[in-house]
């Protein structure tokens, strides 16, 4: 674990010796096994691992959707969560999806429309406000989901493989947009992915997980802007993939 992390005292998010078990008796599975992860305010952390390694469970515990079996979670603010499939409500337009988040955050009715409009403009969806989710592309739906996260007016956003189903070009555009929004607003992000290059492209720090444990953490240290297909991102991703494999797991389908 990085010593730089341990010298920090004020964490945006922290998990201390976290354990999460599902089921009982012979059906018992351990999804998280003594995970300790601390995230600095304004830090972009990506969590990488194979399916079933516990990365999404960790995110759910951070989001407050699951309670840990043991251990302590502290949150500097109530986090927003961006789901893998956007999870927009299909009966609401893009703007009304964002307005719902504003409403539940306590924003008055008179302000909601203009605030939603601003947030959708921030994710470059001007002119698409009145479209229903099924009338939008996968990338646009994730942009709406990002605007909805921003509507929650929180400093922490958790992202659960939000770009996994998108084509490479859309994903690259969204990388740029997420990076710029996160930087401009000083957000803290925990981003779960199984794509090592994506993890290196976005992160200040990459966390490798396997079998419910943290196998390795590494500050990326590359200057920004970065590109998925650049040599230094590819090289770093290659090294981290080797570390992940050495940690006892085989990363399938990884783009490194």
């Amino acid at each position: 674990m990085s010593t730089a992390v341990e010298t920090e005292h004020s964490w945006a998010l922290s998990a201390e010796n976290l354990t999460k078990e599902f089921g009982e008796g012979s059906q018992r599975t351990i999804a998280l096994d003594g995970v300790t992860l601390r995230v600095r305010p304004g830090e972009f952390v990506t969590v990488v691992g194979t399916s079933g390694c516990g990365k999404s469970t960790l995110l759910n515990v951070f989001a407050g959707l699951d309670d840990p079996t043991a251990g302590v979670v502290t949150r500097g603010a109530k986090p927003a969560l961006m789901f893998q499939d956007a999870t927009l409500l299909p009966w609401l337009t893009a703007r009304r999806n964002v307005e719902l988040a504003l409403k539940l955050t306590g924003v008055g009715k008179s302000e909601r429309r203009s605030r939603a409009q601003e947030l959708l403009a921030a994710v470059r969806l001007e002119g698409w406000e009145d479209k229903k989710p099924h009338e939008l592309s996968g990338g646009m739906r994730q942009r709406v989901a990002l605007a909805r996260c921003l509507a929650q007016n929180t400093s922490i956003i958790l992202m659960d493989e939000p770009l996994g189903a998108l084509d490479a070009m859309t994903r690259d555009h969204l990388h740029d947009e997420i990076e710029s929004i996160v930087r401009d607003r000083g957000l803290t992000v925990v981003f779960v992915t199984h794509n090592m290059r994506e993890a290196v492209r976005l992160a200040d720090r990459v966390v490798l997980m396997g079998s419910g444990r943290i196998l390795h953490e590494q500050e990326v240290g590359l200057s920004r802007p970065r590109a998925m297909d650049s040599a230094d991102v590819a090289e770093r991703a290659h090294d981290l993939t080797a570390r992940l494999k050495a940690g006892g797991t085989v990363l399938r389908g990884v783009d490194s």
Partner: protein, 280 residues
């Protein structure tokens, strides 16, 4: 020059295509129905020609439709139709309120679901006509007896539509609600109930079918003096052996039932289409 020509051709083609395809769609939609009606009428006419039953018991399609034409020109028919439709509206409206409230409570409260969940399905399968002797005993031969049975006929289907709709709300929506900070009220108002709406509308469609059947059974059994209704008209036509009036009234009952069902189907399709669940 070539460009202008191509452009003109495209415009002409675009101008014609929608109306052509619209007419084609209307024809594609209507011809199977028209064919089905033609086949039914042909079979009816053949049976009539066969002399299977005398014409005063089994009239021809022509006699029946002539009678229907006469019937709809009388004030008594419209008064009967008005009574029946207002009973259907009041009964179905009350069933909607009762069924929706019970559905939400049963879906929300586990002990209530354990207590009455299977009873609701049991009530749904129980023939509503079986309730009439009891309803007549309790309320007498009056409107309340009819409405009581209409409500009992329709409410279980509506309640089951609500329960099933809520049960099948994707878990991701509930998780989203929790992440957005929705309390119990807003979780239901903003997420669960709108998500359950398509299944609820299916429950309403089924509820309408049960309400309409129950109402017809009720009007046949509970005949109120000076209150003409379609059911009473059927019963009187049978008593006076007016077969063509009887069949004409049956056609009206069938058409009203189908029209209301078509309204529900249209609402259901529009709802699903607006959510991207149906493309055509």
């Amino acid at each position: 020059m070539t460009a202008t020509l191509v452009s003109t051709q495209v415009q002409t083609s675009e101008g014609r295509t929608p109306s052509k395809s619209g007419a084609r769609r209307a024809w594609a939609w209507s011809w199977p129905k028209l064919l089905a009606i033609a086949i039914v009428l042909a079979i009816w006419q053949i049976i009539y020609w066969s002399g299977w039953r005398p014409s005063y018991v089994f009239p021809s399609p022509l006699e029946t439709f002539a009678e229907l034409g006469e019937m709809i020109r009388t004030g008594r028919f419209w008064s009967a139709l008005g009574t029946t439709l207002s009973r259907a509206a009041i009964g179905f409206g009350a069933a909607l309120v009762v069924g929706t409230a019970i559905g939400i409570l049963v879906a929300r409260l586990t002990p209530l679901r354990l207590a009455v969940g299977s009873l609701i399905t049991g009530l749904q399968t129980m023939p509503s006509i079986a309730w009439f002797p009891f309803a007549i005993l309790i309320f007498g031969l009056n409107e309340q007896a009819i409405l009581f049975v209409v409500i009992l006929g329709a409410a279980p289907s509506i309640a089951n539509g609500v329960i099933s709709g809520i049960d099948h709300v994707p878990p991701a929506y509930s998780r989203l609600g929790r992440v957005l900070g929705a309390g119990p009220v807003s979780m239901y108002r903003d997420i669960v109930l709108p998500a359950a709406l398509p299944t609820y509308v299916s429950g309403l469609t089924q509820g309408w079918a049960f309400a309409w059947r129950s109402l017809m059974a009720g009007e046949l059994l509970v005949i109120i003096a000076e209150k003409p209704s379609l059911g009473a008209q059927l019963e009187f036509a049978r008593q006076f052996s007016q077969a063509s009036t009887l069949l004409a009234t049956m056609i009206v009952i069938l058409v009203v039932g189908m029209l209301v069902d078509a309204l529900f189907s249209y609402a259901s399709r529009s709802l699903r289409r607006s959510r991207g669940l149906e493309t055509t």
